[in-house]
């Protein structure tokens, strides 16, 4: 079964139909997606700015104890609401370049955050490596958000 065919099947699913046919469901999910985006931005920024020496003077490892909860919570809500948004119009998304750019940047952002950024911060790393990883993490998430917004325009 081709990917396009899968998209058609998802679009025809009961969940997809329910979201598509409701007046307020899509906007409500979209708004929740945006609220979680703000929270993720805050959690990533408070750590990043501190790592780069342009934010809080408290050690990033100390900030991480609070920030990681909001980061994880935001990522979970973003993924869940994102999936719901996708399920409601997969055929449209299939044909949009911005969607694929977003999915690729999302994979990169998740990998960089959870395999490099978070572990390095937890370990109290300092130096060029963590600074570079931080820049990459911020850029990756910015790309995800930007490509996400662009889905609506393309």
């Amino acid at each position: 079964m081709s990917l396009y065919h899968t998209a058609q099947n998802i679009e025809a699913s009961a969940l997809g139909q329910t979201i598509r046919e409701s007046t307020w469901l899509f906007p409500a999910i979209e708004s929740t997606h945006l609220l979680a985006l703000a929270l993720l931005g805050g959690a990533v920024l408070i750590l990043s700015l501190s790592v780069l020496g342009i934010g809080l003077k408290t050690a990033p490892a100390e900030l991480y104890k609070s920030a990681h909860r909001y980061m994880n919570g935001a990522v979970i809500v973003l993924l869940l609401t994102g999936i719901l948004l996708g399920v409601s119009e997969p055929v449209k998304l299939y044909g949009r370049q911005a969607f694929w750019v977003k999915m690729i940047s999302l994979c990169i952002a998740l990998a960089v955050t959870y395999l490099a950024f978070n572990p390095l911060i937890k370990r109290g790393a300092s130096g060029v490596l963590i600074r570079s990883v931080t820049a990459l993490t911020m850029a990756a998430w910015l790309m995800v958000a930007l490509a996400g917004r662009w889905i609506g325009f393309s």
Partner: protein, 183 residues
């Protein structure tokens, strides 16, 4: 008076240019959304500290002074891009119920900031690392709720449920400033 102003605004080449542009409008709106992460993101982190539930090892004074420049940077970006978005579609936005509610929420958030700045945080030296006072927690809750509403109402401006052509109750006509359809 405002009605006349926004109608004039809509006729300016700036408004028409933005509205009809291929990329500028999209770039402006994307920048507006990105700036939410900077503005509301940093505010949320500060509010979580003011609630006394997170970042408790960070002195409140440091949290405020070191995060504020980033919050202001986000605010400047939001005001510029927000102004441009309004300029692109002035008349519809002016009448939008969601836009009006969004402005109301921004006003509430602004009053809350004033109360916090001029009353609540004045004695912060006494609770910099200690127990957060009740007033601070209230301000944090008001701030988090108001900014969340600003984001949600802002997103809903895009939907035409309550545009002037679908207003048929006197109350809604009053709220949105739309003419009531006699039909």
């Amino acid at each position: 008076m405002l009605e006349g102003l926004v109608t004039k605004l809509a006729e300016t080449p700036w408004s028409i240019g933005l509205h009809e542009s291929l990329y500028l409008y999209a770039i402006t709106e994307s920048t507006h959304v990105m700036s939410i992460m900077l503005f509301v993101g940093t505010i949320a982190m500060v509010d979580l500290r003011l609630l006394g539930i997170s970042y408790t090892k960070v002195p409140v004074s440091q949290m405020l002074s070191r995060m504020l420049p980033w919050t202001i940077a986000g605010f400047v970006l939001l005001v510029i891009t927000g102004g441009m978005l309004f300029l692109a579609i002035p008349v519809r936005t002016y009448h939008s119920l969601w836009f009006r509610l969004k402005c109301l929420m921004i006003l509430i958030a602004a009053i809350n900031i004033a109360v916090f700045t001029f009353k609540v945080e004045r004695d912060k030296a006494t609770w910099d690392l200690g127990r957060v006072p009740r007033n601070s927690k209230i301000c944090a809750v008001v701030s988090l709720s108001a900014w969340a509403c600003v984001i949600v109402f802002g997103r809903l401006i895009a939907y035409n449920w309550f545009d002037c052509d679908s207003i048929n109750s006197p109350v809604m006509a009053k709220i949105t400033g739309c003419p009531l359809d006699p039909g």
